[in-house]
């Protein structure tokens, strides 16, 4: 009986200790917290590691979860920097202001979205309008596009993904067909398109191209034309994406609460420096063009 009593009292004491220990670590705030976009998480992790190698006294923690998740965390002041592959929408800006948060959008890399199909399909290029019709559900068979008589299986991301929103608002320009399979992350889309001989999907180019520029096997990356009268461009040629000839590219952003200062500004400047932009390129993305750099200069983020 006594022994049982001691055990219970001990258990309570241990849980009390654990609770205080957790509380203590939460108060320690020397790491810069970054969270959000799954498209950005690997690249930002690489940037953070390169930065911490240069400035070992700094500590940065990067987590994913999706652009919406990162923005929500910024609004609730649970993160210092939100990674987002899309701009914040009106509702989010309003919520931020209601919480006393002033979001500042800082572009730091360019992402080309690749439209991928299974390698067995004999299609090499599509126009934006054709892609839109596939994702809207008005084209449902590959034969309508000069391919084999096969119903198209449409793969996309889930609604917590910035890529989902970006692709819908800028390429489909309508609601996705409710036949679209909503995959839980980019890797699942890639896996599905590789194994499904009638599949189409969209993914950040960094995910399917390795450091030497080789595309993952069993996939074809489509060349995309802005409209029926324009030539189609491949996103595999970095020049096409950086110059804007390839029509599905977007800026990747980091949001801060107010203008970044001190060590946060220092980190962001590192990302925008030639050294940081090289990390961006190594991760399979594209460096910011001159117009973005001018904009950042005007904002006072870089000198």
């Amino acid at each position: 009986m006594n022994f049982a009593k001691i055990k219970i009292v001990g258990a309570i004491a241990i849980s009390a200790l654990l609770v205080t220990a957790c509380g203590g670590s939460q108060k320690r705030q020397n790491a810069i917290q970054i969270s959000g976009s799954d498209s950005e998480v690997n690249m930002v992790q690489n940037l953070a590691e390169a930065y911490m190698k240069k400035s070992p006294e700094q500590s940065i923690a990067v987590t994913g979860g999706g652009s919406g998740t990162g923005i929500a965390a910024l609004i609730n002041q649970q993160t210092d920097i939100a990674n987002s592959s899309r701009m914040m929408n009106k509702t989010e800006y309003q919520q931020a202001r209601d919480q006393g948060v002033e979001p500042v959008a800082i572009p730091f890399a360019i992402d080309g979205l690749a439209v991928i199909i299974n390698h067995e399909l004999p299609i090499t290029e599509l126009t934006i309008d054709q892609i839109s019709q596939i994702y809207k559900g008005s084209i449902t068979n590959w034969s309508e596009l000069g391919g084999p008589d096969l119903p198209i299986t449409v793969y996309g991301r889930q609604s917590n993904s910035g890529t989902y929103v970006y692709f819908r608002d800028n390429v489909v320009k309508a609601d996705y067909t409710n036949n679209m399979r909503n995959m839980n992350g980019t890797a699942q889309i890639v896996e599905a398109v590789r194994s499904d001989n009638s599949a189409i999907g969209y993914v950040g180019i960094g995910y399917i191209v390795d450091k030497e520029g080789k595309v993952a096997d069993r996939l074809s990356v489509l060349n995309v034309a802005a409209d029926a009268d324009s030539p189609a461009y491949s996103p595999l040629n970095k020049e096409n994406v950086a110059s804007g000839l390839y029509p599905i590219s977007r800026a990747l952003y980091q949001f801060t609460n107010g203008m970044p200062e001190g060590r946060m500004l220092d980190f962001i400047r590192f990302e925008l420096s030639p050294e940081g932009q090289q990390v961006v390129v190594n991760a399979g993305y594209y460096p910011l063009g001159q117009s973005y750099m001018d904009e950042l200069k005007e904002m006072g983020i870089i000198e």
Binding site: Q95, N178, N182
Partner: protein, 285 residues
Amino acid sequence: MVRGVLFLAGMSVIVVLGGIFAMLFYYGMHAFSDISLSEFFLSTSWNPSAYGEPTYGILSMVVSTLFVSVGAMVIAIPIGVGAAAYISEIAKPAVRETLKPVIEILASIPSVVVGFFGIVFLGPLIADTFGLSSGLNAINGSFLLAFMSLPTIISVSEDAIHSVPEEYKAASMALGATKWYTLVKVILPAASSGIIASIMLGFGRAIGETMTVLMATGNALRMPGNLFDSVRTMTANIAIELGEVPFNTTHYYSLFAVGLMLFLMTMLVNLAAERITQHIGRHKL
């Protein structure tokens, strides 16, 4: 003092359950200030973050949930009850002592692992077998959920079969019945309420399972026509959308309403199972 602590521990379960229900109810009800009940329950179109007008109909998700879980039961019941009868009545002690812990281990496989198995192995297998382009569909989810509810069905059924009084068997044998006849006509009927309870518990497990179906069924939003269509269950929908939804919006509240609906469905199934189990308790001997 020990008594007090243990009392608190016991009561905390009720407090947590009550708290969860109250929260679901409180937030869920907010949704209906903007969504009509008829749209919520009868419309098949769910698209709260639409490019055009948002819609909030849960019917296709409810049907999808039932599709996948009923499919799972069709697969799991014969295997589960068969395995339970085998373990309890036919297997040699050595086999029984091996099978029982293996079934326990089966129960402890994390759902994300089962889902992964569905994507990389079962999905392509289903696609090949049935000549489909993709194996991420309802039947894939059904197979995986069947697999996940088997341990519950087997162990509860096995207990029920095991607790059928030895005299019943002896009497049946004494009248010249074969072993098979005794099993099918005497033992299984005598254990039927326990077996039904095990099925209900397995069904409740299947309805509430999230990660596996999220990974293996493709999550398309349309009303499923057959078992080879991609489906999005209620649990998967909540998991997909709750992470990004802006706080205190209609969309946010509507997800709690879906959660409330799901909670009521699983609670009904569990209560039914509970009633049936008590029923055998009273009628034993």
